[in-house]
Amino acid sequence: MVVGESKPIAEILEMLKDCKKVVLAGCKGCVTVCNVGGEKEVGILASELRLARKAAGKELAVLEYTCERQCDPEYIEALDDLVKDADAVLSIACSVGPQYVAARYPYVPVFPGINTTFIGGAVEHGVWKEYCQACGNCILGDTGGLCPIARCAKTLLNGPCGGSSGGKCEVGKGAVDCVWHLIYERLKNLGQLKKLEEPMLYKNWATSRDGGPRTMIREELRK
């Protein structure tokens, strides 16, 4: 899923400083699962904003709504009535949400209430890790099902580098696993260490963001 984190309340208040009435739009997709942009977080953030602005002597009306998804234009339509007389929309979906909101309401400012951080998953309650960089050409089959593109600090295809120590990456002060160490152990368990003996050659990054913003077209679905 797409994982996000809340922006600091001070940053959000600064973005909304000229607004009197805003729509706070959550999303029932990934950001609900990672506890940052669902119905519950909409309620909490709305209260925080109202209280902060009241304390500052400049009240803010916050209209709450949580979309089915914000990464689908048809679910943005549900905001139409609320947006009509609002000064802005504050979206706490992943960054697709604010962009779909912007596309639907050309004359209404939109602000992001969260930072979209990575494609990943929870490893325990309250802890999420990155697992994918959407390089567009999956190599997990060669690396024991563990991704060095997303999980090696240097995106090595021939790791582990000389900074791998005791299974940990030199980056992250011991908090980050060396994914190449994990790949090594896993391939050892699978009896496939031979795979690591041949140099893995150049990756084609054209399928990644480096090839320009990506559009995917599936003609069979367009008909």
Partner: protein, 310 residues
Amino acid sequence: MTMTAGSNLEKILTSGQKAVTCECGPPRGADAEHFRHKASYLKGICEAVNITDNQTAVVRFCSMAASRIMMDLGMEPVMQMVTRDMNRIALQSNVLGAAALGIKNLLCLTGDHNSFGDHPQAKNVHDLDSIQLLHCIKTMRDDGKMISGTEVQGRPAMFIGAAANPFADPFEFRVVRMAKKIAAGAQFIQTQCIYDMDRFAQFMQMANDMGLTEKCYIMAGITPFKSVGMANYMKKFVPGLVVPDSYIQRLRGVPKDKQGAEGIKIAVEQIQQCLEMKGIAGIHLMAIEWEERAPEILKAAGLLPRPKVD
């Protein structure tokens, strides 16, 4: 092993004599005079001098310019290149430019992660890793082709090197990774600073058993301790470095003003131990910001004067 670039370093190694390389880092500014001064201590005491490429991810003047300055001093550079800061377009361009300037030795590295340097906010590149860069340079030199397949107009005659760290983990994979570097194109290897002699001996045993010392020249990396503080720092904060306590105790056992001399004594012993190991083709002496002490270390180790080759 056939000659590819005809550098002084390559000639000495090919002749079977123990080679010596040193290291000199460019300054954090445009002060070429400072660099010339540091480099002058290394003249005549080694075959070639490694010029670091923004080491520890700190901005310094570039290794290609420093390499050229070194050649103007009548010295031979080993130009280091890291894949952290440049994509394959810039890297290949620099290889060609370096060859055009007459640089004959290249050392391919991935580089320290930018989060350790003075610009941790930088976007890192890592389009290639060190092994792919080795392969790329070898292919340009031997097949006359760029990564794209485009023909190179004038092949870069380079003696190609790589680094190896026998002290990182998993230990049993370190020699395999070195083998990959050799398969990709490395003709010489300079190791990470060696302090744990037992582990290094074990590493060399594995390299010999795999036949790697027949395919590639392995140079043992030595960095003298300037003080007990430096030894402690390297033990605690440099990832993938093993510093045995015995050295720290030895340095602690002498007065502060004698620690440098003791550090040099240790380095000389380490050099001699390494030279006795089967398969060691030479010494890579990295006297970090201590270039002026390199001559006495090499002299005490019996490595001076340097042999001459045509």
